[in-house]
C-alpha cells in the first residue's frame, strides 16, 4: 500500500492489486496512509491450483481488462 500511495502522490496512474482476503488490511492501511480512497482492485479469493487452467486464464484476462480501465480512467483515456 505504501507503494500505491507513493505512486498516486507522484501522479503515476496506479492500481493496488489486492487478493480478497486482504481487503480489510489494504483499506485500513490506505486510511492510515492518508488515502482512504486509494485505487484498489480487489480480486476474488481463489484456489488457483485446484481451478481448471482455462478458468484461471479467463479470470486473469478479465482482471487485466479491469486494471487497464482503472489506469486509463486516471489519465482521462478509455480502453
Amino acid at each position: 500500500m505504501r507503494d500505491t500511495v507513493n505512486m498516486v502522490q507522484q501522479g503515476v496512474p496506479t492500481v493496488g492489486f489486492i487478493h480478497e482476503p486482504f481487503e480489510k488490511l489494504a483499506r485500513m492501511q490506505a486510511k492510515q496512509l492518508g488515502m482512504p480512497n486509494a485505487p484498489l482492485l480487489i480480486y476474488p479469493q481463489d484456489l488457483p491450483s485446484n481451478d481448471p487452467a482455462d478458468f484461471v486464464l479467463k479470470k486473469a484476462e478479465g482482471l487485466a481488462d479491469k486494471v487497464v480501465n482503472m489506469l486509463l480512467s486516471q489519465t482521462g483515456g478509455t480502453a
Partner: protein, 359 residues
C-alpha cells in the same frame, strides 16, 4: 524528573481499576492486563536513556504508526519494563524495522509468525535474563517476560498488527504474547561461539536478534544416548519436515548446554555441526511435489533450486550458513536431550548491537 516535553494524549483515571477498563475499551492490549503508563514512569524511561523522546525509530507496519522513543517507552512501561530495559527494547524495534525482517508480512501474513527476540552477550548477565531452565517460558524473570511483552505491545499499539483487522494470521502463534530467549554466555556452560559473534559482532558486544518465527518445535536430539551420526539424522528429519518445506528458509536451532558439550567433545564445534546439517538437510523432488500452496515467487522456492522434472533431485532446506542459526540455551537435559527448532517465515533474522553500557 526531567522537563522534556511529552506529547502523547493524557487520560485521567480514578484508580488502577479504572485504567484497566479504559485499556480494554480503547484496545491498548491484546487481552492481558497492562500497567498504567504514568507520566512519572514514562519520564523515568526517557531520563534513563537521555535522548529526545520525539526521536523517530521508524514507521511500524501495517498501521504506519510512528515509533518515537516516547511511544516505545509508553509500551515498555505498560509491559512492566524497568528503565534499564529500554535500550534492549529500542534495539529490538530497530531490528524489526530492517527490511530483511519483512515486518509488514510478519505482522499481516496468514502464517501468523511470532517475532522472537534473542538476547546475547554480556547483557544477559547484566540484566539478569534467564538463559537456563525453562528458557522459553515464564520463569519469574522480569527481563525475559517484560521485554518480550513490550515488543508485542509495540507491534500491537504502534503497528496495529491485530487479527481480525490488519493481521490475517490463520492460526497465530502462542509467542504473540511475549517471545524471548536469552543465550547462555560462555561462562554459563556454552561451549560454542555466541550467536551475535557468528553474525558479525564482537564477543564483548550485547545484541538483540529478531527472528520471524513460524513453527516452534521441541524435539529430542538424543546427544549422549546415541551416535553423533544418528543425532544428525534426527535433526535433519526435524529440519526437513514437509509441513515446512516448499522453499528453503532460515532456521534456528536452540541446543541445550549438555547437548552442545557432547557434540563438542565428539569433535563438532558449532560450525561443523551446522555445515553437516546443511549438507544433509535435503529432500527429493518427488516428496516436495506432494506439498503445495506457497507462491513460486518466493526467493528460495524449491522449484528455483533444482530441476523440477527430476524426481530424484534433492532440494536443500537451507541454502547457506546464514540459513541455519544455532544457539545454546536452556537447562540440563536427560539423555533424550530436549532442543528446539524454529523456522523463519517470510523474513530473516536481523542482529543489532545494543548501543548501551549498563556500567
Amino acid at each position: 524528573m526531567s522537563e522534556v516535553q511529552l506529547v502523547s494524549k493524557v487520560f485521567e483515571c480514578a484508580d488502577i481499576d479504572d485504567f484497566t477498563e479504559l485499556a480494554y475499551k480503547n484496545g491498548w492490549t491484546d487481552g492481558l492486563p497492562v500497567l498504567p503508563p504514568t507520566e512519572k514512569k514514562v519520564r523515568a524511561m526517557i531520563d534513563y536513556i537521555k535522548r529526545d523522546p520525539q526521536e523517530v525509530l521508524g514507521v511500524v507496519s501495517p498501521g504506519e504508526g510512528v515509533a518515537t522513543l516516547e511511544k516505545v517507552a509508553i509500551n515498555a512501561v505498560m509491559a512492566g519494563c524497568l528503565p534499564e530495559y529500554l535500550p534492549v527494547v529500542i534495539t529490538a524495534v530497530e531490528a524489526m524495522l530492517d527490511n530483511t525482517f519483512e515486518l509488514m508480512r510478519v505482522q499481516c501474513t496468514t502464517g501468523g509468525p511470532g517475532p522472537l527476540a534473542i538476547i546475547s552477550g554480556p547483557v544477559v548477565k547484566k540484566l539478569n535474563f534467564n538463559c537456563g531452565e525453562g528458557v522459553f517460558t515464564g520463569t519469574g524473570h522480569r527481563a525475559n517476560s517484560t521485554i518480550g511483552r513490550a515488543i508485542r505491545l509495540i507491534l500491537w499499539n504502534i503497528g496495529l498488527g491485530r487479527p481480525g483487522q490488519m493481521s490475517h494470521a490463520t492460526m497465530g502463534h502462542p509467542g504473540r504474547y511475549s517471545y524471548l530467549v536469552a543465550e547462555r554466555p560462555p561462562e554459563e556452560a556454552n561451549p560454542w561461539e555466541p550467536l551475535h559473534v557468528t553474525n558479525g559482532l564482537k564477543a564483548e558486544d550485547s545484541a538483540v536478534s529478531m527472528f520471524p518465527s513460524g513453527a516452534h518445535i521441541q524435539f529430542n536430539l538424543g546427544a549422549g544416548a546415541n551416535t553423533v551420526e544418528n543425532n544428525l539424522f534426527v535433526v535433519k528429519d526435524v529440519l526437513t519436515n514437509l509441513g515446512q518445506f516448499q522453499q528453503a528458509m532460515q532456521k534456528l536451532l536452540v541446543i541445550n548446554p549438555q547437548g552442545a558439550h557432547v557434540l563438542q567433545a565428539a569433535g563438532y564445534d558449532k560450525t561443523r555441526f551446522r555445515d553437516e546439517l546443511i549438507k544433509q538437510s535435503v529432500r527429493a523432488v518427488r516428496d516436495i511435489k506432494r506439498t503445495g500452496g506457497t507462491s513460486t515467487t518466493a526467493t528460495w522456492h524449491w522449484s528455483k533450486l533444482v530441476d523440477v522434472n527430476d524426481d530424484d533431485a534433492m532440494v536443500p532446506a537451507m541454502v547457506d550458513a546464514h540459513h541455519l542459526q544455532i544457539m545454546v540455551a536452556g537447562g540440563w537435559a536427560p539423555p533424550v536431550c530436549q532442543c528446539v527448532c524454529i523456522n523463519a517465515m517470510h523474513g530473516e533474522m536481523v542482529t543489532k548491537k545494543i548501543n548501551w553500557s549498563w556500567d
